[in-house]
Structure formats: structure tokens, C-alpha cells
Symmetry: C2
Subunit: 342 residues, 2 copies
């Protein structure tokens, strides 16, 4: 069982990755250092970072700049991170690999982050594929969906392992004693599903996980499962479809409310409620997508992340460190494989 | 090229299929006969149907009962329809096959409907797999998703044909001159997708369809495509996830609005707008899921359909008849195959 990182270590932030980098990255780091007392390593070009930091009162805040001359952009190939060792992403990864940071956050190129994390930090023992997790709001709280985009064509065993990753995440980070694991399918019955999910069903049923069977798309929002298992193609589909439906309803509601004076008044009066609703379903409030199954804690934020989302991802990274995610997943893998050998 | 059904023929309604059959079925048929002037064949047990009809003023309405002693329930196997020739579903299918009805509607067992339709009505020439289509509301109007559940494991050629089915549907029924066909994927770039969609991409790109490339889940609601092509597993996922997200937002908004007096007042004032919004996104307003690619027009309604949904599905069936869907899809298939031979 691997040892997790030291919880007192700083969190590294790739300050150059993301649509609004480095401005929003620096603002998020300052908020995390000031409000959450998190020590931060700001990785990137010293000049721009110092200029941004001067916009804030940073005296006494635990923020340190770590130089990185190069930047991987959205136009680069995912594997660029392996060749460009002075890129902010490569330097950020090394800080974690060398034990100088407890965890890392980047809103940069997801593909490059995933390639870099699996190559530099390496997969945990026994893990066949690392995966992106994403925490979604539900009626009863929240659920993690694994995988949301890293692995489009999966084998049944990968899905079983995604179930374990999600279980350890929900147990350690959200203190759910026995997370309910649902397999995303096109019907509740065991006979439903495609070739992949029907085989994964059998594996999950005989695993040590709290497997509740197949769930459908609507069951996610209803909170039927704490962990939603699917391949990365379908995980992406779920995230984007839910986002699209939410956005459609918001737009249509606004259209209908602005048709007459009565509606406009209703809209004005409803503003605080709508604001609270937004907070509950806003991805910016929920941090980013952790890469699960690697020897390190790395969170990928949405490219459009603003300071608030960056701060929440830094908080989430620290939660994962405090929850000893890596050691716990390692222990769960070891238990599963010893059960398998018996 | 096959001949389509005579538009003056009645529409057959499986009056015994669905959670609220035959009451809501009969009420929907009466509404369609009275308000839309559609002649209806009500298929089922004469006793209960006559009892339901007596609840309405039906004098002079073009409604005829066709006897069927048996009923396929949700607990039956899909293939039961092939053996139980006196079931309301089997009789409904025969009315279409024998040219006694122009089209048919059922809110019964989807699996049985699909099996029955493909076996009794048979696939159109050249069609490899029939599929369920489903029309969803979008920001700019509506889009049809094909397939939404009939075929979970697909070959690339099936997806190409789904694109053609959706194209003919949107062109004929909604009069869109050149429907934009999008392939559901996990990213816009041609390189994105899984093994199935990457191959389907190549086929669609070289087809005669107005193929706009990959689209993502959120692009559906945004109205980026008129036809969304995917396998039945993912189509089901999209429908259910969108439904779940919409329902979650509705519930959370209600929770937030009822927290204080201001919110409650806003909610009251917003009622007409919310009612109009509901109408715009309500599946009951959009009819049912047509089976595409068979020699007959058959629409499967949601099991929970009430009279309004049944009436709208009967209207949709007549629209498909008037639009000459079967002949047009046959002609499109013939053009595609002659282009292929050249």
C-alpha cells in the first residue's frame, strides 16, 4: 500500500493553464491562501504572475512562485507535456512526483493533463486505466461519475475499477460509509445494457462494492447512486447533456418570464431563489475533475474556470490529501486482489 | 420504391397498451376524432372500450372498435406479440399490414412493439436495422434523435442509416429543406469519438446527408443539429439524462422559491410562464417515438401517456402519413444505393 502525500505540503497550481490564465488562477490562489489558509505553489512565468499578484494584498500569504518558462496551449498535442519539460504543466507534475507538493490543480489542456499525470505520476498498482471523475449535484446531495472522458473504449474490468475509485472517493472525501454504485445503462433489469455493460454488471455484482445494479440517466439527478460507473464516452455525454438541458430550461424560463409585466415582476422577485439554485447546480462550486487511479492527486478544472472555481478546486485537492485518497484506493485494490486470489 | 398508405384510411390505436389503458386511450381517441377529425380504429376488448366510450359524446365521431381479446402486458416477453395473435398489439399491427389502417399508435410494451413491427410490417428494402426516433425540444425548435433504444450495439452502417431516417423525418414532417445531421460524440473534432462513431463519421461524411460532424450532448438542446445520430444505448442515455436534469431543476427551483414569502409570491406570479415553459418542453406535447425504417407507420407512446399524449401521437401518425414518410425513405434509400453502385 503506497503512502499518501504529507498533508502539510503546499498545493501546486498550474497558473498558466486555462482560458483566463493567469489572472483568474492568481486570484483563486490568493483566495485559497487567504480564506482557506492553503499554502500554494504558483507555477508559471514569474513576470506575469508577479504582476497579477501585485493586484492583491499578499503580504504574509503562503504563496510561492515556481518558475516555468513554457506553456502548453489548447492547440498543442496531448503528448507535448512529455517533451516540454519547462512547461507549467510539466513543472507542476514534477512538484507532485518529487514530493514537493501534496497535490496539483490545472485548468489547462485536459488531454495533456491526463497523459502527463499517467506518465509522470504513474498508475497505482493494479489499476488498468486511470479515469476522470466528476461530482454532480443530485436531489439528495451529490454523485461522482467515473469515467467522464479519459477512456472512450473500455473493457468490463476498467468499469469495475472505476466503481472502486468512485467508492473510495465518496467514502473518503464525502464520508459516505457505503457508497451505492450504479452502472449506467438503458434499463434497470440485469438483462439491459450493451455488450460492455452486461459483462461489467457481472463483475460488479461479484465485487466487494455496494453495487445496486443498473441505473438510467434520470436516476443520476434523482440521487439513486453515489457512484455512477460508465465509459468515458458516455460520461462525457451525461455531463454535456445535463448541462445542455439545464441551460435550455434557464433560457426558455427567461423567455417566458419576460413576455409580460407579471412575468417580469415574478423574475425580479425570484432573483434570490434563482441565485441560490444556481449555486446548488453550478459546476464552479463543485471544484474540478480529479484524475483517479494515479500515484498523486491532480484535479483538472474546466478551461473557463474563474477564481471561484480555482479556489474550490484547490480546496477539493486539500480534501483529497486530508482524506488520504491514494493510500485508501491502494488498500482497496490490495483487498480486492487478495480476495480474487483466494 | 414502396407505396405509402392511403391518407384517408383510419389510424389504429392499441387501446389496451399503457399504464392508464384503456381509459386515457379512449379519451385521447375521442379528442383526436372530435378535434382533429381523425378516423380511429380502437383495438381491444369491446366491453371495456364501449364502457369508456359511453363517458363521452361520441355520436357521429369516426371511431370504430376492432375486437382483440388478449393483452400483452409489461411483464410479457417481447416476442409474446408473435405468438399471441389475438392480442391488441398483434391485431393493431395486422390492421396496418393488411392496409386497413394508415398508421398505428400504442403506449404498450416498447420491446414487443419493436419486435412486432419489424416482424409483421418488415424492414424497408436496404434498411439494416429499424430504429426508434424521438423528437426533443431545442432552443431553436426541435431535433430528432435516432436511435433512442432499439439497437444497443450498433455497426457504423446502422448509424449512417439512422441519419437518413432522421433526415427524411425532419424534411417530410417538419419541412426542413436540408436537415443538419450531427453525430453524437465526446468532442467536435473528427478525431474524437469511440471506435463505432469514428467509423460512422467516415460513412456520414461521404454520404449524401447534410452532415455537420460530431456534436456533443449540450449541442442537442442548443439546436446545433436537426438530426442527432447515435446508438440506442446512448440515445436512451440522452433522453433520460435530459429528463432527469430538467426534473432536478424544477424540484430545486420549487424548494428555493418556497423558502420565504418573497419567493412564494414570485412562484405564484410566475405560474403562467412556468406553465408555458412546461408546454414547450413537455414530451406529452411532442407525440411519441416513431419506429423508422419499417413498411408501416407505428408510433410508440410513453407508457405513462395520458389522453393529451395519445391525441398528439395520433396527430403525429397522421402527419407521417400525409408526409408520405415510407415512400420518401424508400426513395432516399434507392438514391443512396444507386450512388453507391456508381
Amino acid at each position: 500500500v503506497p503512502r499518501g502525500p504529507d498533508a502539510a505540503l503546499p498545493i501546486a497550481l498550474d497558473a498558466m493553464g486555462g482560458d483566463f490564465a493567469p489572472g483568474e488562477q492568481v486570484a483563486g490562489a490568493v483566495a485559497a491562501a487567504r480564506d482557506l489558509k492553503l499554502p500554494i505553489l504558483l507555477v508559471g512565468r514569474r513576470g506575469p504572475l508577479e504582476a497579477q499578484l501585485r493586484l492583491f494584498k499578499t503580504a504574509g500569504l503562503p504563496i510561492t512562485i515556481v518558475d516555468a518558462a513554457d506553456v502548453i496551449t489548447m492547440h498543442d498535442d496531448s503528448t507535448a507535456v512529455l517533451k516540454r519539460s519547462e512547461s507549467s504543466l510539466a513543472v507542476t507534475l514534477r512538484l507532485v512526483a518529487e514530493g514537493k507538493a501534496a497535490a496539483a490543480v490545472s485548468a489547462g489542456h485536459s488531454g495533456a493533463i491526463f497523459v502527463g499525470a499517467t506518465v509522470v505520476l504513474k498508475k497505482q498498482a493494479g489499476i488498468e486505466r486511470a479515469a476522470f471523475g466528476s461530482v454532480l449535484p443530485t436531489l439528495s446531495g451529490r454523485a461522482i461519475v467515473v469515467d467522464v472522458g479519459a477512456n472512450v473504449d473500455c473493457k468490463p474490468r476498467y468499469l469495475q475499477q472505476f466503481g472502486m475509485m468512485g467508492t473510495v472517493y465518496m467514502r473518503q472525501v464525502f464520508k459516505i460509509a457505503s457508497p451505492r454504485v450504479g452502472l449506467l445503462s438503458n434499463g434497470a433489469e440485469e438483462s439491459k445494457g450493451n455488450a460492455l455493460t452486461r459483462e461489467a454488471y457481472t463483475l460488479l455484482k461479484t465485487s466487494r462494492l455496494n453495487f445496486i445494479g443498473n441505473i438510467e440517466g434520470n436516476d443520476i439527478a434523482e440521487g439513486r447512486a453515489d457512484v455512477v460507473v460508465c465509459d468515458g464516452f458516455d460520461g462525457n455525454l451525461v455531463l454535456k447533456t445535463a448541462e445542455g438541458a439545464a441551460s435550455l430550461i434557464g433560457t426558455l424560463l427567461k423567455e417566458e418570464l419576460t413576455r409580460d409585466v407579471r412575468g417580469k415582476l415574478a423574475g425580479l422577485l425570484a432573483l434570490p431563489a434563482i441565485h441560490r439554485l444556481r449555486r446548488r447546480i453550478d459546476w464552479e462550486e463543485h471544484g474540478g475533475a480529479p484524475i483517479l487511479g494515479i500515484n498523486g492527486i491532480f484535479i483538472n478544472c474546466h478551461g473557463r474556470s474563474r477564481a471561484k472555481a480555482i479556489m474550490n478546486a484547490l480546496r477539493q485537492a486539500q480534501l483529497m490529501v486530508d482524506a488520504d485518497m491514494i493510500r485508501e484506493l491502494g488498500a482497496a485494490m490490495a483487498r480486492a486482489s487478495s480476495a480474487h486470489r483466494r
